[in-house]
Amino acid sequence: MIQAILDAVSLGGVYALAALGLGLVFGVMRLVNFAHAELITVASYTLVMTHQFPLVVSIVLSVVAASLMALLMELLAYRRLRGSNPATMLIVSFGVSVLLQKVYELVFGALPRSASVATGLTGAFTVGGVSITIASVVTIVLAVVILLAMGYLIERTKLGLQLRAAASDFQTARLLGVRSNRLIASAFVISGALAAVVAFVNVVGNPQVDPRFGLDITILALVGIVVGGMNSLRGSALGGFIVGAVLSLLNVILGNGRVYAYSWMFVIVIVILLVRPGGILSKFATKERV
């Protein structure tokens, strides 16, 4: 049971980081960046391809790769679309996602690339007769540290203040001197760095990286930011955490019926959205459309 709770908190933390990365970009651009999955994938490939390097070097390289990829996405694809309607940007992000998957396929092949990354984290230890995996503890610590650091960045720094202001009203923020290009680029770079952290945790648990490696977690993180409230960074992180934790617990609770874990999770998501249509932390009421 303790391991199940730790796994739930651990998976929740990972999804919280993924959702926060998506939420940051959504906040400043109103872009649901579906291609966030490919940031996770490129970071994962980097970890696998550099597994023979010291772990720290490998991690730094994966952060650089994902951040650079995020920056290139912004410069080459999304910058010209600023001001377009969200549906247009979403479709373009699908396009970027598919294009990058094909690029990864050409470069790394369609079959999974595998390597042991951070082998020291794959063991387990026993506390009071309960076996606990090192990976789940490290994941929780990593998620907590990074979420706290992100909390500090967003709540206590000038960059964070500008990100919050831009998420609320970008045009007014620009009128006050907030540099739009720099701020959006920063959001993408941070989003890439968060994707790299998510990649690290996932690769440790499952070092079989293929071109669609980041897809599942990104889809569920997207569900998370809707559940938490798309207009709130705290909401995004909370929603991501809920989705990850609930999914993990359902897998344990359902036992042999775990094949229905996704179905039950979406039932819970629908119930949450029926009660809080704008998401758990959203301040905005829904508008009647029909």
Partner: protein, 239 residues
Amino acid sequence: MTLFEVRDLRAGYGKVDVLFGVSLTASKGELIGIVGPNGAGKSTLFGAIVGTVGLRGGSVFLDGEDISGKRPEDIVRRGLSLVPEGRQIFSGLSVIENLTLGLTGRRDKHGEKGALERVHDLFPVLTTHRDHQAGMLSGGQQQQLAIARALVADPRVLLLDEPSLGLSPTVVKDVFDRLIAIAESGTAVVIVEQRAHLVTRLAERTHVLRAGKLQATLTKEDAADEAKLTAAYFGNSGE
């Protein structure tokens, strides 16, 4: 000496032209009014000046430098700030966070502390509510915050779009008294108002904008003549 000049400005949205060659000037410490009915193009004029509405022709000069077509974030750094219509404060942020954002557009980063002190002197109520959420302030307090937020950037020219909107007469008088003080300190103040009488009695010159063109320019004395003002505002004798 002219500090701010708009020369033959043309602007619009999509296929619709809204401004058809608007020109005006303001000197240091001057208070200029722009009045006109709904749809005259007043907010579009300010939008075109600060770079949020695309220019279709003409120029904007600030202290001799052509700033037309520059991005909003670059224009504020050159010393031209806008207090937008409806105040547009960040209601989820605190008062001090709103003011801190205003500092982003300052050229002189060393003077930030002094700038905050000056606006707290000018608007003491903001000190009282320093850590309160801006959205919890009254309408008048929010307007003061919007003006203070623009002022901390140390603008040489301050544009205000409908500063009286949604405010009671007492609060409007209070806000306009502060604007006079701001102009007296050397900042050129340009106010757009639909309620003409609020600005005509204060402004050295009031331009009447109608159908995207400046139709008349009135001195304080001209504007005191109700018939003259009405004729300029509505484009007829007012009968």
